[in-house]
Symmetry: C2
Subunit: 415 residues, 2 copies
């Protein structure tokens, strides 16, 4: 049996125990894990500092090193996140539907864990603890394959949580890590259909694309967001400027940040200068076609490709449209189906937009930045799905469950 297969066998076995643990035992495990992270802060930081030093020597960007680095506060944050998950409602064993057939068969549809969840991610050690907590609470074993740049941090976190589970006589193989971080092993991991029920790629567009192309295990695509804000003719201009500012500048590197503006021609002369003024004050560069630049000459020229770009930085494209149909068509063409918003005082147009925009989250008079598990009240999230199968938008515990039918009879045979 090879290395990956042995991980698969161990995870599968542990998942069978975990699937039938009562909620109290699962919460006990989560609290023990949170506790252990705090008690082992020094060891985890020591392991992390090796990763940080290696990253510096490799010349990694400071923004990536910032994501990689763990501090006492960050480890406390990870522990607090685990405790929060322990306080959520247990998602397993809920009868979501039940009915009795004319022949007397009583059919219950009941939530169950997925089984073994695989997660492939980049050098963000906080994902290690987050993913464990959500998987464990939902009765799933997980096999994590984090980026090689965080391998020492991930090993330390995983080892600490596994010891805590073992001390509570809980199956420690519910949390396993792929320590061989080669690309070949990652590719084999994506094809472990016998052992892995579901795979989440978390990271940049390149990582996600590679998983979608190579995986045979069912995948949920997450994350890429070319989010649009459409300013309708009847928009409240101050509200539009505030929402655009928030959606663009509150954080640049996130998938729910606005990357594209669409403006009704009837309000363009009023709203574009106001938006320009606000965004320029925050060093955001706007890109627009000729008709946009005629209104505000300081705006940069824009190509077709710019409409499709997820900038993740201080840039935003601007498109002027003649009516709401044109706006909807433009957005459905260029969007990544993540989050889009309309700013309008016209209820009819708002409802049309909410209905016809084909994205996971569609907003009326609110910032796209709310597309987030915490903001939706899910407590935490395993990612934001941009596909339609199984789960869409922010994925909380429910996205980590499946269901089964339990059918009770009295000897029924099919006619």
């Amino acid at each position: 049996m090879d290395y990956l297969e042995s991980l698969g066998v161990r995870a599968k076995r542990a998942s069978e125990v975990l699937a039938h643990l009562d909620p109290a035992s699962k919460n006990l495990g989560l609290r023990a894990a949170a506790d252990a992270l705090q008690k082992n802060t020094a060891e985890i930081i020591a392991a992390n500092s090796i990763d940080v030093q290696n990253a510096r020597e490799k010349g990694l960007k400071e923004s990536l090193i910032d994501r990689l680095m763990l501090t006492k506060e960050r480890i406390e944050g990870m522990a607090k996140g685990i405790i929060e998950v322990s306080e959520l409602k247990d998602p397993i064993g809920e009868i979501v539907e039940n009915f009795i057939r004319p022949n007397g068969l009583q059919i219950d549809r009941i939530t169950v864990p997925m089984g073994v969840v695989g997660i492939i991610y980049e050098a963000r050690p906080n994902v290690t603890a987050d993913a464990f907590a959500l998987c464990f609470k939902s009765g799933n074993a997980c096999i994590l394959r984090g980026g090689s740049d965080a391998i020492n941090s991930n090993k330390a976190i995983v080892s600490c949580i596994r010891s805590a589970l073992e001390a509570e006589k809980l199956p420690d193989d519910v949390l396993l890590i792929v320590t061989d971080t080669s690309r070949e092993t990652a590719k084999s991991f994506m094809k472990m259909n016998q052992y892995v029920d579901l795979l989440f790629p978390r990271g940049g567009a390149g990582l996600i694309q590679s998983v979608v192309e190579n995986a045979t295990v069912p995948v949920i695509e997450t994350g890429v967001g070319n989010c649009h804000i459409y300013v309708d003719e009847s928009a409240d201009v101050d509200m539009a400027v505030d929402i655009i500012d928030n959606a663009k500048t509150q954080r640049f590197g996130v998938c729910n940040a606005a990357e594209s503006l669409v403006i009704h021609r009837g309000i363009a002369k009023e709203v574009i200068p106001a938006i320009y003024k606000r965004l320029a004050s925050k060093n955001v560069e706007m890109l627009g076609a000729e008709d946009v630049r005629e209104i505000e000459a300081e705006i940069s020229p824009c190509t077709e490709e710019d409409y499709a770009r997820e900038y993740l930085g201080p840039f935003i494209s601007v498109k002027i449209v003649d009516n709401i149909d044109h706006a909807i068509e433009h957005i459905n063409y260029y969007s990544t189906k993540h989050s889009e918003a309309i700013i309008t005082e016209n209820k009819e147009n708002a409802e049309k937009f909410l209905d016809e925009i084909d994205s996971a989250c569609v907003y009326w008079n609110a910032s796209t930045r709310f597309t987030d598990g915490y903001e939706f009240g899910f407590g935490s999230e395993i990612g934001i799905s941009t596909q339609k199968l199984h789960a869409r938008g922010p994925m909380g515990l429910r996205a980590l469950t499946s269901y089964k039918y339990q059918i009770r009879g009295t000897g029924q045979c099919r006619q």
Copy 2:
């Protein structure tokens, strides 16, 4: 633009119209399609007879030719199936969840179509009409890639339905067929992520395996069923024999037929001869290990591989176990997670089995043959899922829907 891509573009455009059609217009389209099938019975049978003749010349098995052949009654059955789907509750636009956040955001989760559904199947022309009806009712365009042996039948059915839709001024591109039945085109079809939201393979294990391995579009695995029946120590022997007889012999070639028996040692001497007698009278061959053959010498020897086999024919394996835990372990190891049943008068054992067996449908004192969209009251089915992502067990209209979040605000920005 190549051939497949042009199909993708057309289906995508049509799906955008269909997604927002009201229920009455969709039902009008379905009734028109059913009507047209009946009116064009002669043309469809003429096209089908070419396929049947070609199949005979190729030496196809009679059982396959029987599946391929269309008669007046079978076309009436197809039309009736479409009418039945039109009478089901519309699955789109339902608010399945709604909540208001502390900041005043009002969040509705509402059902929406998947978009474009791809179906890859073998030479069963009735699937063409069934799949269209379920996809259309749930607001999805579909692109069908049926087996080359049924190409003339499929073309005739599709052309007839498309004309009926067009006459009602409905978008006929909601139903498209891949007329190039080469394997290369099938493989390209499985990678059309830009245009196809979901892919269903319907057919034998080889077809399904090929789709799982080659597709980059999200896939739902359907169909393979190594279904087990466990006869517990406290079973009612007559009930056990009747259920096993029904599950094994009512139809051999179906995925919900029983293929494996598991018998508690404490009841083996009583129940195995009774089962043998009944099944032998119907020419079913039983296969068992030494301890089984000691009880009934006429039973054939059995290898490990026989426990894993989906016979789809008059064979069934038999395993004796010492207790229910051993039974559950054996079944979870060999099953394809489709349907399993326990026969027992012991409620505690029944509940344990219902809880611990990891299959889509788990029965207590009933035949596995009930795993079926019609029998579950779903009206019809697009297939039976054996994976855990998105849908499990019989898939009706709900399995063809996704959801989106509509969020209504009053200018909220994220803090």
